[in-house]
Amino acid sequence: MDLSKLTIHDLHELLIKKEVTSREITETLFQRIKEVDRKIQAYLLLTEEEAFRQAERIDHKIRQGERIGDLAGIPIALKDILCTKGIRTTCASKILANYIPFYDATVIQKLKREGVVFLGKLNMDEFAMGSSTENSGFQITRNPWNLERIPGGSSGGSAAAVASDECIAALGTDTGGSIRQPASCCGVVGMKPTYGRVSRYGLVAFASSLDQIGPITKDVTDCAIMMNAISGYDPLDSTSVPREVPDYKQFLIQEIKGIRIGIPKEYFIEGMDPEVEKSIWEAIELYRSLGAEIENISLPHTEYAVAVYYIICTAEASSNLARYDGVKYGFRSAEYEDLLEMYMQTRAKGFGQEVKRRIILGTYVLSAGYYEAYYRKASQVRTLMRSDFEEAFRKVDVILSPTAPTPAFRIGEKVDDPLQMYLSDIHTIPVNLAGIPAISIPCGFSKDGLPIGLQLMGRHFDEGTLLRVAYTFEQNTDFHLKKPNLS
């Protein structure tokens, strides 16, 4: 039995039955990382010593006969955008290459309390800006299903690590699709929770009104377990919502009779990959056969989503990234004569192309004379898009769409065409703008053997229904059980 191939809930069973130890699992994972990460390049940093210390602590507890939670002793890895006390956190940016936070993100504290074993920090697009992880300041992560392909982004390291069994589960962050699109590309499960469900404290901000932390896992059950651990109000995050968190495992039921699934016509666009379209329609048919009611719906403002998104996210980013000025921490250019030059040299050398592009765009849309035309207008359209969803959710319980218009594209294919790159998030962006939850689950493979993802969107704080609908699909298919061949 290869422990690295198992899920959280498999391993938990083995741990409480004392058939394996957390140490054994952890050893297996580091062994696996050593074998395959040369090819995948998912990890930026391994925290082996602390991982084994934690594994020992959990094993000790188990030996003492103490009850342990679902995540105790389970090796998990983190997108390198989550602040970890005493452990380098870079956002895959040269400007933070030497940054060691002196505090833990709230989700890290929560997972520590659960007894999670942290394996290390995972690659991503610099400051989560990108859809392919090619914008990392350090390395290019490969798609485990085809090493010439991108793993998606920005949480490409997280999705690739889960898909290649280099960790049991991972945390990612999603601003415009950065959990769901890589999960789709890598054939794993990824959930973006409702905005406000998970504390953002300690998540290095890209676009504050859109960012949300979420799990990337091997199946829907693990997703529910992770959601249980990370959700909840945090007094340190004013935008987190004081609302009771249900036990998400209770939604893992195979029963969707009467559930109304909406199919938004605006999401079935020209240029959509025919294989993706075929898989999605097969999924819809499966749901119909399982007793769901399929309804055609409209989300009329969808066409503005990408434009609105790139105004709001760049505006917020231009302000959020102002703190990287070389004064307090991180990289500082050595070549400067005065303060202004220190700022300019530091930021010119410390940030990558895409980050600079977005800072410039964001600065522009907030400038005097342009604010009304861009930022304010975008905020207004965003409100309309939110109403689109509210309207739709009066008629249906979940909305179904492809996660991405195509399977994973080739490395280098869209690097020089930012607009094409931006369009790969066309199905995921509206969810962030509306603040609703969504999940991506595997729903098929292309002829080339590349995974295809299905996106389910739900009402605010109704992650439960998403899990139920996703779980039902998973129980009736075996896409999630397929593994890439990495030998």
Binding site: P101, D237, T239, K328
Partner: protein, 479 residues
Amino acid sequence: MEYEPVIGLEVHAQLLTRSKIFCGCSTSFGEEPNTQTCPVCTGQPGSLPVVNRKAVEFAIRLGLATHCRIAPFSLFARKNYFYPDLPKGYQISMYEHPLAENGFIEITVNGIKKRIRIIRIHMEEDAGKLKHGETPEKFPYSYVDFNRTGVPLVEIVSGPDIRSPQEAGEYLRRLRAILQYLEICTGDMEKGTFRCDANVSVRPVGQKEFGTRTELKNMNSFKHVEKALEYEIKRQIELLRSGEEVIQETRLFDANTGMTVSMRGKEEAHDYRYFPDPDLVPLRIDERWIEEIRAGLPELPDQKKERFIQQYQIPEYDAEILTSSKAMAKYFEETVALFPEPKVVSNWMMVELLRELKRDEREIDQCPITPRHLAGMLILIKNGTISGKIAKDVFEEMYRTGEEAEKIVKERGWVQILDRGEIERAIEQVIEAYTKQVDEYRKGKEKIFGFLVGEVMKKTRGKANPQLVNELLKKKLKE
């Protein structure tokens, strides 16, 4: 052509909360650099602000005390600019939706009452402090201290209603008094807990449109504000008179020269790119909370002034000065409680006490004479133990030593002479010594009387009771 100035003031006041506006760090002043800091106030990646409820309450108090409308919905916004003392690269402030709007403060200048409008009051966070190395060779670095970063501020923006440097000074004193009465700010300009920038323009008297304005910064005392305004008004008028134009710019006041110098022009003005801070939810302030705060407001300067006029029957001028600070009003009331002649107390405070304090640049709460001591001295005057003249010496001794009047009077033998015999002996000596003057008086030159009284006082080293001297001398001269 006659010109008149148009002045608007922007005041930043540090709020006296124990913790900072967006994190739990202490606001304690004068600590070791960077010891009162955390991930939030040093702008660490991933940190998030949470609004301090007490700071909001303090700002609402000020809004109510200045007759503002408290907005049911206000919004924190980011003001973006780069500076090393600003760790996030933006300051969290308020822009489109300030906390309070449309209030006023009433001032009195040269006996004329006037309302200065308050356009808006908003909340924001303070920046850190920079410390620069002494010389580039020896110490080529600059250092940042983030202890002050995130200390809550309110910014109070007046209308362009102020027409003279005195009015500006009066407005600032009144505003400071309100802040102090509310116990939400120490109001110390030298220490920077109360800061003022001024917008100034001039226009021909009678013209409605405003002239081109300049913004004045770097004024660290009330005196600086008045001086800077005087200089700037004069400068602008001279420019216009000589046919030149005022340039819209920011100017710094130099306390050493008393002049203002250009800092940056309009072209170099920052574009702050304000937008709503997505890390903070809108502030929704319900009517109940506002009423709760209103009910808890202390008596404010204007109310206290009215009460003083009514209750103590003192002139408005006295009441205005005695209520100019909470400490002053308290001193007055404590003294009156022990010596219930308000006008007498007021006179002593406004003349003697304020003169001494002003000379030593002391605040009234640092006064060596306590209200009990002052009342004690006034009792000695009243019961005739000392004369009013001697009282002035006693007062100075009290101020110098911090001792009670009774002790000083006893130790120095300054008790008033009430013994008729003793005074008569002195009078006889004076009449003998000044026969010529006595003759002139008796011939009808009544002015001489004062001189003779003075001589008798001299003889008794000022200790004779003046009424008795008058009475007995008159009697003697008629003989």
